[in-house]
């Protein structure tokens, strides 16, 4: 009897488990179908939804909602179990034996007749395979789901829907915020590397603004106002710093300044560790030779000390310190100028985008633009073509036009060096003259010559080689 009882218990358990699995599968399919259906109908209205609510998010959201609803409404109950067992009886013509046996299994005391029911049910269910008996059946939503899924994908792919101003505005906001953050990050990195204190402060402020905008704490309009205000402040900072002492007012090229700073650093390292006690002592011929190999620095020294023979080492050291500060201040000014220009352009571009967005959404712009402004705005507007994200990126001002590029290479075993070059974006023509490149080579050679890695006997040979490079160019 135990055997038949176990058989009945096992078979009923298998059957109910299988039916439950089928129910879950059907529920998931139904949920997906209805989620796709509703999402497809909502696609035209996608423009009114928040930007973070993408079509995929909407689909996922409805899938979760429908799943929860269906799982709740179609949850497995005792009547489901009863119906399933009844179907088994019906299918096998068992005359309610399994149904009766299932109830008997739940009783503690069993009458002899009830035991007989259990035995008969067990004998008849022994060879029954629920999965084979009750195969999966597919309803209409199963067959329609792939079709509607394809339809939904196509609709998403072709960006079907109304592009509302609010969404485009939000899109623009995020784009402006991201650009500002990226720019501030770039400036911060450069400022830290080059020790540009003022630029670093401004860059940090910019990042703070960008963060607020991205988090939705700062509206697009407020951001534009802030950008404009910040551009004004930066302008003031530039004019204030321009009033300070400047040794090289002619040097306005960031690359030249970077080179000059590198030469100053290299020459400082070449100077003896102990400064001379007396002023007016002439420079060593070796030092003069090295100075001659540094074109930017030698130019500045010639301007300051027309007679190099009378220049003492102490005076030269003081001059180098002063020159270093001036160069750094000039670099800071240039960077601030770059920031100011970028902020102004960014503010203009953002304003243009907003107007274009409103125009596309069929709304009246708050102020009418001139044709030229409209053209500019259109050029940088979001969504001039479907899915043209790249164009939106390009519409914003390029802040890297004058930034020094890094040319990296290996100069010695296990050591790499970078050569700052002022070049155009990839694909353009180099703006760096051959002289500058040679000067850079010389400067780096001087740095290496100052180190102990190069044998003393070879130092003169190397120096002569690099000096000959410059002479050969001049002769040509």
């Amino acid at each position: 009897m135990i055997e038949q009882e176990q058989t009945v218990r096992q078979k009923i358990s298998d059957l109910l488990g299988w039916e439950w699995t089928k129910r879950r599968e059907k529920t998931l399919i139904s949920s997906l179908f209805y989620a796709l259906l509703v999402s497809s109908f909502l696609l035209p209205a996608q423009g009114w939804l928040p930007l973070w609510l993408s079509p995929f998010s909407v689909l996922l959201l409805f899938f979760v909602i429908f799943s929860a609803f269906f799982f709740l409404s179609r949850r497995w109950s005792e009547s489901d179990s009863r119906r399933t067992v009844w179907l088994l009886d019906d299918q096998l013509h068992l005359a309610a034996r399994t149904l009766t046996a299932r109830e008997i299994l739940g009783r503690e005391s069993r009458a002899p007749t009830e035991l007989l029911v259990l035995r008969e049910a067990g004998d008849r269910l022994k060879s029954v395979e629920p999965k084979r008996l009750f195969k999966r059946s597919y309803s209409w939503d199963f067959f329609l789901t792939p079709t509607i899924l394809v339809f939904w994908f196509l609709a998403v792919w072709f960006d079907v829907g109304v592009h509302t101003g609010h969404r485009l505005e939000e899109s623009g906001r995020l784009s402006t915020g991201r650009k500002l953050k990226a720019f501030s990050g770039e400036i911060q990195q450069r400022s830290k590397t080059q020790g540009l204190t003022e630029s670093l402060k401004v860059a940090e402020n910019m990042e703070s603004l960008a963060e607020k905008n991205l988090q939705g704490q700062l509206s697009e309009k407020a951001l534009n106002e802030n950008l404009t205000g910040m551009a004004g402040k930066v302008g003031e900072m530039i004019s204030q710093s321009a009033q300070g002492p400047g040794i090289s007012p002619t040097r306005t090229n960031q690359g030249e300044l970077v080179d000059l700073r590198s030469e100053i650093d290299a020459f400082k390292r070449a100077l003896p560790v102990q400064p001379p006690r007396q002023a007016g002592t002439g420079l060593e011929p070796d030092l003069l030779g090295r100075l001659a190999a540094l074109p930017h620095l030698s130019g500045e020294v010639e301007n300051r000390f027309p007679e190099a023979d009378k220049m003492g080492e102490k005076e030269l050291r003081d001059f180098l310190e002063q020159l270093d500060r001036s160069v750094r201040a000039q670099m800071d000014r240039l960077t601030l100028s770059e920031i100011q220009q970028y902020l102004e352009e960014l503010a203009q571009a953002a304003e243009g985008e907003t107007l274009e967005s409103m125009r596309q959404a069929g709304r009246e712009a708050p102020g009418k633009l001139s044709e030229g402004e409209k053209a500019d705005a259109r050029g940088s507007a979001v969504g001039t073509e479907p899915g043209s994200k790249e164009e939106r990126e390009q519409a914003l001002p390029s802040f890297q036009a004058q930034a020094p590029r890094q040319l990296k290479g290996r100069l010695a075993e296990g050591k790499s060096r970078s050569l700052p070059l002022n070049i155009e974006a990839p694909g353009g023509k180099s703006k760096v003259s051959e002289e500058e490149v040679i000067a850079n080579y010389r400067r780096q050679a001087e740095e290496d010559l100052a180190s102990e890695k190069i044998p003393e006997g070879l130092k003169d040979t190397i120096r002569k080689y690099f000096l000959s490079l410059g002479k050969a160019e001049k002769q040509k």
Binding site: M1, S79, R82, R83, W86, A95, A96, R97, L99, T100, R102, E103, I104, A111, P112, T113, E114, L115, L116, V117, R119, E120
Partner: protein, 332 residues
Amino acid sequence: MEALEEIQERMTGCRRAFEELKAEMGRAVVGHEDLIEHVFIALVCGGHCLLEGVPGLGKTLMVRSLGEILNLSFSRIQFTPDLMPADITGTNILTEDGLGKKVFDFQRGPIFAHVVLADEINRATPKTQSALLEAMQEQSVTVGGKLHRLESPFMVLATQNPIEMEGTYPLPEAQIDRFFFKLLLRYPSHAELARIADLTTAAPSLPLREVLDGESVLRIRRWVREVPIAEAVKDFAVRLVLSTHPQGENSLPMAQKYIQYGSSPRGLQSLILAAKARALLSGRPNVSFEDIRAVALPSLRHRVILNLEADAGGVSAETVLAEALERVAEVL
């Protein structure tokens, strides 16, 4: 395990006995297989049957044959308007005992038999009908203040003619309700008629063989009540009964339209008990939905009281019940 084998043997025995009974009845009664089955089910359930059919369909023959096969005493009462209760139950007659003393001696009426055929019960007055119905219900009669028990098994098969209604006293609903089954006798088919002609006009055949005795019937009665029924099957029977109620929660549109009063709780008792008996006689240890369906009409048709609209529309209780059997789901 031994008990199980015994029960299994019991089931098999019941099925075999029933098959033999049907075969033996088939020798005397042509057709009416379902009727014979229902009569036997009523017998093993301790119920009484109301047979409705035109004269000459073999009602008396069937009841007498049943008595012979079961080796039970049989009596027939022809109900007439002047039939008195005492003519059924019996009466006290003044007689002299051995000492010459006058004493009342109870003369038992025809009700004192195992199987009683109450022919054309609707022709007797309500008073006489009541006497019979009381005996059916109590399985005893009280005459002169003394209670007289009827022998077990006791079964009344009452007949009534559905076409001759003049001068009849239709049974009140409360009394009809006391019948376990109401069975309808249909007219025999062509083949059955031909066979009836052969049987009744040829030389008499061998007497019917006794298949069961009264004791066996009483034993089966006890076993019937031991047959288990699943809650789902019982629920189906309950919903079926409730569906006949016009004001019920699950009543059918047809019931709402044509039924005045639905089945009484006795209908449910009859339905389930008859289903159990059917399962047992089929050699099955449990009640199935099919058992309920098979006994639904004889159990409920006389318990459903139709309204005037149904009479006017020619809608019978069978039609409404057939609708209920079709519409009510076996499992919810």
